[in-house]
């Protein structure tokens, strides 16, 4: 019997796992339900001990929850994102938000939507750079660990390089990549105010689920500025190997950005 998480990072497979079938081998109901387990992601056919959850399943749940909990506290790997930018020929700019630690980030969402004072200055300097780091037609990436840095650390460099490549082929200029450890999606507004790009796209770690601690979300916003809401953003969610793959997610993101730049709009007004 397997007693360790599978090599792909997913936890113990439940479909076809030995637990429920073994335990319920003599039971018609148990056998029937175990046969259905492969047809849904839901945690069915767990079996029961009395009315309680069997040990094996209690532990599997705890393993998944532990992964999600640890994901919330995973350190955002700034150096790795910077290296990814360098490989993709993109210019990284590292900033801080007003959320000074994870607890503050969780308790005060507004702090994750605002730049720390020094960081606002760094971006203002960049905006006034005569070399023209941020052109009026360029698209700026923002990368943040969000509520789970696990997926962003692993996939953001690849998403950046693939998407930037696809955009270059379509004649869309990609500006610098702003890297912020504890950022929320609303941070796009303040960065937009300072850099005034045509559009921005934020790659951010999504709230970890029990079965998906490593999801990356990508938010697109045309002419980002103060006061804009989720209704004026578009989102591609669940980018991760077990969800929307990095390749497919990057394709979808490039398509979304291309449409937004062509229509000069984002959010609910953007046409499919």
């Amino acid at each position: 019997m397997t007693t360790e998480p599978a090599a792909d990072g997913s936890t113990l497979s439940r479909a076809g796992s030995a637990g429920p079938q073994q335990r319920d081998a003599g039971s018609g109901q148990g056998r029937s339900l175990a046969g259905l387990a492969g047809r849904t992601e839901a945690r069915i056919a767990l079996g029961r001990s009395g009315s309680g959850v069997p040990t094996r399943e209690v532990l599997r749940f705890q393993a998944d929850h532990a992964m999600a909990r640890d994901a919330v506290h995973t350190v955002f790997d700034v150096a790795r994102i910077e290296a990814g930018c360098a490989r993709a020929g993109l210019r990284p700019v590292v900033v801080d938000t007003q959320a000074s630690d994870t607890a503050a980030f969780l308790r005060f969402p507004a702090a994750g939507r605002r730049l720390a004072a020094g960081s606002a200055d760094i971006l203002a300097e960049l905006a006034s750079d005569p070399v023209g780091a941020v052109g009026p037609d360029s698209m700026v990436f923002i990368v943040s660990g969000g509520l789970s840095a696990l997926g962003v650390n692993q996939y953001a460099p690849d998403i950046l390089s693939r998407t930037a490549g696809l955009l270059a082929d379509r004649g869309i200029m990609v500006g610098p990549v702003v890297i912020a450890a504890r950022g929320r999606v609303g941070l796009m507004n303040e960065i937009g105010e300072i850099l005034t790009p045509a559009a921005s796209t934020m790659l951010v770690g999504e709230r970890p689920g029990l079965s998906s601690a490593d999801s990356v979300g990508a938010y697109f916003q045309y002419r980002p500025r103060a006061g804009m809401t989720d209704a004026q953003r578009n989102c591609i969610s669940n980018i991760r190997p077990g969800g929307l793959s990095v390749a497919a997610g990057s394709e979808a993101l490039a398509d979304l950005i291309e449409r937004g730049m062509a229509q000069r709009v984002s959010g609910t007004e953007l046409k499919g």
Partner: protein
């Protein structure tokens, strides 16, 4: 606005008005800190509680926390207040009201006769002076019974919502979760799904899927697709088999506007569902969900603490004679309820206030992965609320909602709570479970033979 003050341990604490006293008297929670309305320290919290204990209940009728002119919920609460029902407690201050609620003489009958005289703000106020055991013991004395195709809320019974959510709304995946839930005796409150795709067409498909299952197996329960109320109205117009109208609601007009609803729209939806006459035992056909923090989340909190605003949402709910109401207590995240302790307190408060106001109050005992909570915290609140006489809980396969990505209570948890307290599902549903052989006469779960008709899905 009248100010209040209280001297405690040599320090004079001042409060700007009723809302300020209410907020600062509230047990600590992160949402009130976030809103900037919470007490600055523990002594100030107690000073506020002293002040609150001496405020007459009648003050809540004279001093609306949100002005009458500005908010249709304030208007609803004050316009429907029953002065005759209020008369027996009209002379009391909030602290006396707490003692009165705990008194042996204040029984189920007395509490029922007072309901229309108690405003949500009065319920919230007294809850702030109550310890967890008070919230449990008084809620347990309240009895609220509702009916659609079965009877929910009778003494000795505990109901459950079967929540078969699926990330892509796959009909087979949903049906499998429904099947297993039924085999654990879950689903008597409602078989209700949060659709992954929120559209009229999808709602219609899922409603027909459920209706077919309920009819084929003659299950005495009701079903619901938890889509926006405007979608449900459209689905009704398109001829979909709608049992219950669902809607998330909050305690201020502006927060409800953020949900895209108002009282007139809820009234329209209620009338539309009533017109279908699908209930066989009763006409209670509304299903509301609430949760502390929703008003602040919509930037519509008017400087009022989140628990008081939650109680005002119950003022909205009770106007529409709902079959079911539940607080989704830990869903909103740690910026509103930080950890298991805060979630536990909020769950007990919400259940108490809902019951005192006459609602069939259930609870989605739950947490998200960025909150400081785990299954042990859920076990605690589930057990406490069952002791308090909670009307129903959620039944989610393995407690893991694979669509909404949060942890609720499981099919196993429902069986545990019923067995621990000797409770049965709604009587009509229980009879059905006995006939199917799902449960034995002693209430324990049974295994079905492989040829049982409920297992047909597994043979396909």
């Amino acid at each position: 606005m009248t100010g209040y003050s209280c001297a405690l341990a040599g320090h004079n604490y001042e409060f700007s008005g009723l809302a300020d006293v209410m907020a600062r008297a509230s047990p600590q929670r992160s949402g009130d800190d976030l809103a900037g309305v919470a007490a600055g320290n523990e002594q100030e919290r107690v000073a506020a509680a002293y002040v609150l204990s001496e405020i007459p209940l009648s003050e809540f009728l004279c001093t609306p926390l949100i002005p009458y002119e500005d908010d249709e919920i304030t208007r609803l609460i004050l316009d429907t207040h029953d002065a005759d029902a209020f008369a027996p407690i009209a002379h009391m201050a909030v602290g006396e009201f707490r003692d009165f609620l705990l008194d042996y003489g204040t029984d189920e009958r007395v509490l029922e006769s007072l309901r229309a005289g108690i405003t949500p703000e009065m319920a919230a106020a007294v809850s702030k002076l109550m310890r967890n055991q008070d919230l449990i013991s008084v809620a347990r004395k309240c009895r609220v019974t509702t009916r659609f195709r079965n009877t929910i809320g009778l003494p000795g019974h505990l109901s459950s919502r079967l929540q078969p959510n699926h990330p892509t709304d796959d009909p087979q995946g949903i049906a499998i979760s429904v099947l297993e839930g039924l085999l654990y005796g879950v689903g008597d409150a409602v078989i209700g799904i949060n659709p992954a795709t929120d559209s009229v067409r999808r709602a219609g498909e899922l409603l027909r899927l459920f209706d077919e299952m309920v009819q084929r197996h003659e299950i005495p329960t009701q079903t619901c697709v938890l889509t926006h109320v405007t979608n449900t109205i459209s689905a009704i117009e398109a001829g979909a088999p709608v049992d219950l109208v669902f809607q998330s609601i909050a305690g201020t007009q502006r927060a409800n506007a953020g949900f895209g609803v108002n009282l007139s729209l809820l009234h329209e939806a209620h009338e539309a569902a009533l017109s279908l006459r699908r209930g066989t035992l009763g006409t209670d056909c509304m299903y509301f969900e609430t949760g502390q923090g929703s008003a602040l989340s919509a930037d519509a909190h008017h400087g009022i603490d989140q628990q008081t605003l939650e109680a005002r949402a119950y003022g909205v709910a009770r106007h529409f004679a709902p079959l079911l109401v539940n607080t989704v207590v830990g869903f909103i995240g740690p910026e509103y309820l930080y950890d298991g302790r805060q979630i536990r307190r909020a769950g007990l408060e919400d259940h108490f206030c809902g019951k005192l106001l006459g609602l069939p109050m259930g609870c989605d005992v739950c947490y998200t992965n960025h909150a400081e909570a785990d299954q042990n915290d859920s076990d605690d609140l589930l057990t406490l609320l069952t002791a308090a006489g909670c009307t129903y809980f959620m039944g989610v396969p393995g407690a893991d909602d694979v669509m909404l990505e949060y942890q609720s209570t499981s099919f196993h948890d429902i069986a545990y709570a019923r067995e621990l307290f000797g409770l049965r599902p709604a009587p009509e549903f229980h009879e059905w479970l006995l006939r199917q052989g799902v449960v034995a006469a002693d209430g324990r779960l049974q295994e079905l033979p492989v040829e049982h008709h409920l297992l047909a899905l597994a043979r396909s």
